[in-house]
Symmetry: C2
Amino acid sequence: MHSPDVVATKYKEQGRRLTPQRKLLFTLMHNNESHPTAEGLFEEASKRMPGISLRTVYQTLEELSEMGEIQLMHCDGGAVRFDPNVDEHHHAVCAETGELFDVYVDNIDSLRAQLPAGFEVQNVSIVFHGRVAKSAPRTARSARVTTTKSPARQQTVRAKSAKRTPRRTSRGSNT
Amino acid sequence: MHSPDVVATKYKEQGRRLTPQRKLLFTLMHNNESHPTAEGLFEEASKRMPGISLRTVYQTLEELSEMGEIQLMHCDGGAVRFDPNVDEHHHAVCAETGELFDVYVDNIDSLRAQLPAGFEVQNVSIVFHGRVAKSAPRTARSARVTTTKSPARQQTVRAKSAKRTPRRTSRGSNT
DNA sequence: ATGTAGTTCGCATTATTTGCAAATAAGCAT
DNA sequence: ATGCTTATTTGCAAATAATGCGAACTACAT
């Protein structure tokens, strides 16, 4: 996503208005690497602008997405997460914390896949499921991918993964 | 997923009972390559057993998932789709029809990814987004993956992809 | 045939997101 | 500054997807 200033200019060029809400959201999303959900962003925004509406957050995120300033990602079936990084990249999800990291993959074209006959690939999305080791964080950047699962049927991790990001019981009434 | 008979045996072994609902669902899921949603499976099941509850379908799918007989997949943010193929495989989604195909990838380990320091990969899921060409379906099985997008920022396809699988207005009252 | 515990089912509820209309407020012209 | 016009913001209802729960039901061992 471009800088708040540039995005602001783009907005004006398109006849859109610059509201305080939008300006705030531009700022909160710029360089945001947390892959927030609409709710999460709403909470952040509420701190600086109490009263801002969740509806507006959704609205603005949709605009930014349409303008190609941010990307959406449907990760584990929970709420959509937004990413200001629109470069071609992929993701790694920590099974424990739910944290989401950007991952660059160099050689996707070398993947040998048995695609359906006549299938034209437009883009590929890769998600690395795993966990961040708390121990000695050796500087293992750009390593070959090696999975930790039995060679045959693998279901251990997938099995009960339907768990979605836990959230408050209800919005508007945090008892 | 194993054959209905084998699954039935597994159920008995675990002290679970064999109900007509379960038997039907075992049959409908076995060798099912359509990656149905719970709703979809419910509709199929309803044809043969009117009155079966959607709740039971969800329930049974969850059981099968816990038993490692089927896999869940969160595809585009819509409803979860179920896959009786629990071998290590990936998916291809047709952007037009929404159809989902199983895809086998040989050399995932050759992917060169810049993972976060200390990230231990447990498994990788790859989704090929694209479309099935209606023209001459050349037998292009097991080909190298080549994406159709500008080398720089790619957002064309991602942008408005939040569209979920269209479904009936409401369940229970199909006017 | 009987009893018991596992199942099914319907309904309420949660969670995420979008539709809609009324109230507001940018940004331009005066 | 004032007013206008129309884009925006907001709150609420509604759509969708999935789960919790309890009452009614039934598989199946005895």
